[in-house]
């Protein structure tokens, strides 16, 4: 096994709010090797975006970050602004849910692409233009030459996301973070964009983090999945292992609550009752305890640590894990 490209070590993010301190990310450890895809799933507000912003060093100003983010041998948390700017947009790239977050509405698509390329790759204007056209073609934009002169608002949502991806890929990044890249798009377009990301990731041997609330999106496309709940990683495993034999009651509940195509109409869904805890009022015990059907004893008193299951690389944080070896055998 090669050394990881990215290692997130004990990262915590706190945000001051009028209601008190909000623990958005609660001591997370993760790592990712070159050429691999990590999926991060969890409900709205569980800290997915804050975690990715901690990696990119793009947190809100008032946020307090602790821990280390080792990327390609450097701790991003301790880098100066100049070096960070150089890394972002070159080795470290990001695609957001709303492509307009990364696109500038008053600049043409050509200008935006060529600026990024020229700044980071030291190409002259004609070479940058040629490269821009190639990139737009690679992400499936028809008539790329004509697109260069257009503005983002002249493109559909799916097109804009393709363009944002083209810009993110333009400098051959080592790591691409895609934060809900398809949530705002229709299913047919969603499939096209996910295919595009997977294809470029393989071709470039790039590491990728896909953030989503849809277990379906990561199932077929991530090598490894981390499930987050209330700021913590509560289960982490190679994708196959996670879906075959999950140990965390929350993962089970999340999967069960999704309507399935093969289920007959009018079958009641196994819903998770209640909702996630208020992040400014951390619970003493397991954060999932108020909603967990296995909760008992210690669950309300202490926080379960993330620990290893029988499979290497499979971790879970639960006092009463499900589907353990002895149960499955019995």
């Amino acid at each position: 096994m090669s050394a990881p490209l990215l290692t997130i070590e004990d990262v915590a993010v706190e945000l001051p709010t009028p209601r008190g301190n909000l623990r958005a990310v609660d001591h997370v450890d993760l790592s990712l090797e070159a050429g691999r895809t990590l999926g991060i799933v969890g409900e709205s507000g569980c800290g997915k975006t804050m975690l990715s912003r901690a990696v990119l060093q793009l947190l809100p100003k008032k946020a307090k970050l602790t821990g280390r983010v080792m990327f390609d041998g450097e701790d991003l948390v301790r880098l100066d602004a100049e070096r960070l700017r150089h890394l972002r947009g070159r080795d470290l790239a990001v695609v957001f849910q709303d492509p307009m977050t990364s696109l500038n509405p008053v600049l043409t698509i050509g200008t935006q692409l060529m600026e990024t390329i020229q700044e980071h790759l030291e190409l002259d204007a004609p070479a940058a233009r040629k490269r821009s056209i190639e990139l737009l073609a690679a992400v499936g934009i028809p008539a790329p030459e004509q697109r260069l002169a257009q503005y983002p608002h002249q493109c559909s949502g799916g097109m804009r996301q393709r363009i944002a991806i083209a810009i993110a890929l333009s400098c051959e990044p080592k790591l691409l973070i895609a934060d809900e890249p398809t949530t705002a798009l229709d299913v047919t377009i969603q499939a096209q964009i996910l295919d595009l990301l997977a294809r470029e990731q393989r071709r470039r041997h790039m590491a990728m983090i896909i953030i989503t609330h849809d277990l379906g999106v990561v199932a077929g496309r991530a090598d490894e999945v981390a499930v987050m709940y209330a700021g913590r990683v509560v289960e982490r495993a190679p994708t196959q292992a996670l879906f075959k034999r999950m140990h965390m009651p929350y993962t089970e509940a999340l999967l069960a609550a999704i309507p399935k195509l093969e289920t007959a109409p009018h079958t009641p869904l196994p819903a998770i009752s209640g909702r996630p805890p208020d992040p400014t009022r951390p619970l003493k015990g397991c954060s999932f305890a108020p909603r967990c059907r296995y909760a008992a004893g210690r669950c309300h008193e202490a926080k379960p640590e993330l620990k290893g299951a029988e499979m290497p690389g499979h971790l879970y944080a639960c006092f009463h894990p499900i589907q353990m070896a002895e149960e499955v055998g019995a």
Binding site: S44, H213, G220, I258, P259, L261, L269
Partner: protein
Amino acid sequence: MMQLAVRDEPLLNVDNLVVEYGLGNKTVHAVSGVSLQVARGETLGLVGESGCGKSTLGRAVLQLRRAKSGRVLFDGEDLTAMEGEALRKMRRRVQLIFQDPIASLNPRRRIGDIVAEPLIIAGVKDATERKRRVHEVLGAVGLDPDLVAGRLPHEFSGGQCQRICIARSLVLNPEFIVCDEPVSALDVSIRAQILNLLEEMKARFGLTLLFIAHDLAVVKAVSDRVAVMYLGRLCEVGPSEQLFAKPAHPYTGLLLQAIPVPDPDVRPAESVATGEPPSPIAPPSGCRFRTRCPRADQRCSAEIPELREVAPGQFAACHYPLA
């Protein structure tokens, strides 16, 4: 054409409905000749990509947007021909639930007043009676009336706001509700709660539903029959199980293939769809799906495919339906 079995009585019968929007000197062909029926007590699911005209159709059914042509028969009466008092009376029997629960609640009004509003508009003067109804529906959607009635919308989560919207839609005892993407803005765990609630309310109050969504699995979970729309036209309609097991229209097939399945053994199909939907300002001639359809030929651009019965109760508008 009647798409229902003979024994079913259509509560809603939409006949060749056309709805357009003016956009500068151009016309948006949002709904172009849609016909469908919803039987009493049934849930008809309506799916399709963003901008295909689902909300426009739902709003035109309720006469919140007037149609250019076509008819909307509700319980045998043509709503498109109604005005004033007659329409107002009819509106008590039909309700709408929106996608964005938080935005559809007035932030400055208390929950009790929000839910009571339809009663006031409908002229229920007795305050005790109004309070009784409000308590009844809030209880029915799983909220404690004494705890929530005095509070403001911002004190509630998205899922709770959707419960409040559902309570408001039930307060006049309607027969028919258009649910326009009622769970799209909600988290997976909350989504299941609300879908279960809608099913429960439907049984308890004997409702008929038109359920709009873009998520096929969500639609299937609650619908007896499903209608698929593309760029202002109906592609296919039929019983849920049958339509998902054996889609006849190439667009339905494509939608089904594109769904991400939460199972790592199911490899995602490689780029099933090519291209994106064209603009409803200048829709393609003939079949509107032809610019993205792998089966398209000359005939598809020359001739508009009519909705035809391809299997019992299943209708598709395609010259070359899937076998």
